[in-house]
Amino acid sequence: MDENQLIEDLEEELGRALLEHYIQRKRRVFIRINKDANRKMARLIKEKYNGFICVMTSVDAGDDLELVYHFAIEGEEGRQINLNVTVSTPKNIPEIKTITDIIPGSAYPEREAQDMVGLKIIGLPDPSRLFLADDWPEGVYPMRKY
């Protein structure tokens, strides 16, 4: 499917959970969804769009914490579309559900998001520290800005 068909399909599948969307250029699509729809999104990536996770970016956006999922999915003519999905959560409830049980390759990026901005990934099978040292103080997050 091409980029426009993908947006149409996402509108149908996610309904009101799809908050914003734009096509930046060929093979680059950015969307913003409700954080409770992230597991549905992951299932779509795996079962319908035949894609995988590349990495996640955790962002401190002031009052909110954001998590950007960078997926690669099957596009047209043997090419891939890079689909970037942003979810956000208020800083006082920094909780997002895991997608590691759906896409096992998400384990490292989710653990990294926990380390770096202090997101709490609910249901992560191994929530231990990934990149921060064992003697790093609790509750200090290197990528927090505000």
């Binding site: 990495v55 690669a72 043997g78 970037n84 096992p104």
Partner: protein, 382 residues
């Protein structure tokens, strides 16, 4: 209870620090665990304090082997975020640099692999031939590593037309050498005995862990950014993507050796067809925006994300190097193998990292394990 052995921080396969613990039943590995948290360099945080051109200098130092890939990937992400169109000639020069980097990296890997097998003659031959490509890189950029070729919107140095016949000749000299190594790795009975059937990663495991690069393509997972999401001038050159289904260490060696032929092929096409024109785009303003750069590095997909808030400083950057997805794949590879295969199995994904754990103290009699912090080590031994 199975015996647990900590391996690392100073690692047997690569002179870089990480910690593995493997659980053994006799000689067979029954479980493995990776801890990559020794050394986090904090580059993403540092990048937020620097302007875009300064970040290029910083990200060039992520990896001494991929010192073209990382700044180029950051530049691509930034160009998308800021809406900059890169001139054709600059795209060709980037393609040439990327492929030269792949040639030197794959030869370097093959040398390390040979060394891990105790085949040091192979190491000496391979690294001798790697020097020729380092000379080509120096001829183009002025540097053996950290080439400083990229800038936001293009490249900094042009390729002199008079050098092109010389470069083509140097590349032609590579083909018989690659033939020699392909022959040695696939025909030699000792190497085959070590490489075939060990360190197996199945297609299913590769798909689940989203592994990348030659590690993926040796397990039948057909992902290749140069073809799937073409960047620079890759849309304009013809090449094949070697995919092998076996999933063992031999398959990973074969994929990399076949890729060497493809790289030489791409380099020749790019050098012959390079268009005339400018090598840098003009930048008028920095708008708000976000962009994603994807590159097929020698080890797999590199992805950079950049978010711009309209200032000179990037609001957030994200770097993912291919070993980030390939290191977790070591666990299924190691399980079922013997201790003697650990170094070559770890080396077979061509790992590249800068992280590990402290010291693990395992008391097999009391069946306990404790990780010591730096302070504890100092008070204990200092």
């Amino acid at each position: 209870m199975a015996l647990k052995i900590p391996i690392g921080p100073q690692h047997p396969a690569l002179k870089e620090p990480t910690n593995f613990s493997v659980e053994l039943d006799g000689e067979e590995i029954v479980d493995a665990y990776v801890k990559p948290n020794y050394n986090h360099r904090g580059m993403e945080r540092l990048a937020e304090e620097k302007t875009y051109p300064q970040v290029l200098v910083l990200y060039e130092r992520i990896c001494g082997i991929c010192s073209q890939i990382h700044p180029q990937c950051f530049a691509q992400a930034t160009e998308d975020a800021l809406g900059i169109e890169v001139p054709e000639r600059a795209n060709y020069i980037r393609t040439i640099m990327c492929e030269l980097e792949r040639v030197h990296s794959h030869l370097l890997w093959a040398g390390v692999g040979a060394h891990e097998l105790g085949f040091d003659t192979g190491l000496m031959y391979l690294w001798r031939d790697r020097e020729a490509v380092m000379d080509i890189l120096e001829m183009i950029s002025g540097n053996r590593v950290n080439y400083k070729m990229n800038t936001i919107g293009g490249v900094r140095r042009d390729i002199d037309e008079r050098k092109i016949p010389m470069l083509l000749e140097a590349l032609d000299a590579y083909v018989p050498q690659v033939d020699l190594y392909a022959n040695a790795f696939t025909k030699d009975p000792t190497l085959r005995a070590r490489l075939e059937g060990s360190g197996i990663l199945t297609r299913k495991e590769a798909d689940e862990l989203c592994v990348a690069g030659p590690t993926a393509r040796a397990s039948g997972r057909d992902v290749e950014v140069r073809r799937d999401d073409p960047y620079a001038a890759y849309e304009e050159v013809d090449f094949e993507v070697p995919v092998v289904d076996d999933g063992d260490i031999m398959a990973r060696a074969v994929v990399r050796l076949l890729e060497l032929y493809q790289s030489i092929n791409i380099l020749k096409q790019a050098l012959k067809n390079i268009p005339e024109g400018p090598i840098q785009a003009d930048i008028d303003e920095i708008p708000e925006g976000e962009g994603v750069g994807r590159i097929e590095a020698p080890r797999g997909e590199v992805i950079h994300y950049v978010r711009s808030d309209g200032s000179w400083y990037p609001e957030r950057t994200k770097v993912r190097a291919p070993s980030y997805v390939n290191i977790p794949a070591l666990i299924p590879m190691l399980i079922g193998d013997t201790v003697a295969e650990i170094p070559i199995t770890v080396a077979s994904i061509d790992p590249c990292w800068s992280c590990t754990a402290r010291v693990a103290i395992v008391d097999t009699n009391k069946k306990t394990e404790k990780i010591m912090t730096f302070e504890e080590i100092r008070s204990h031994y200092g």
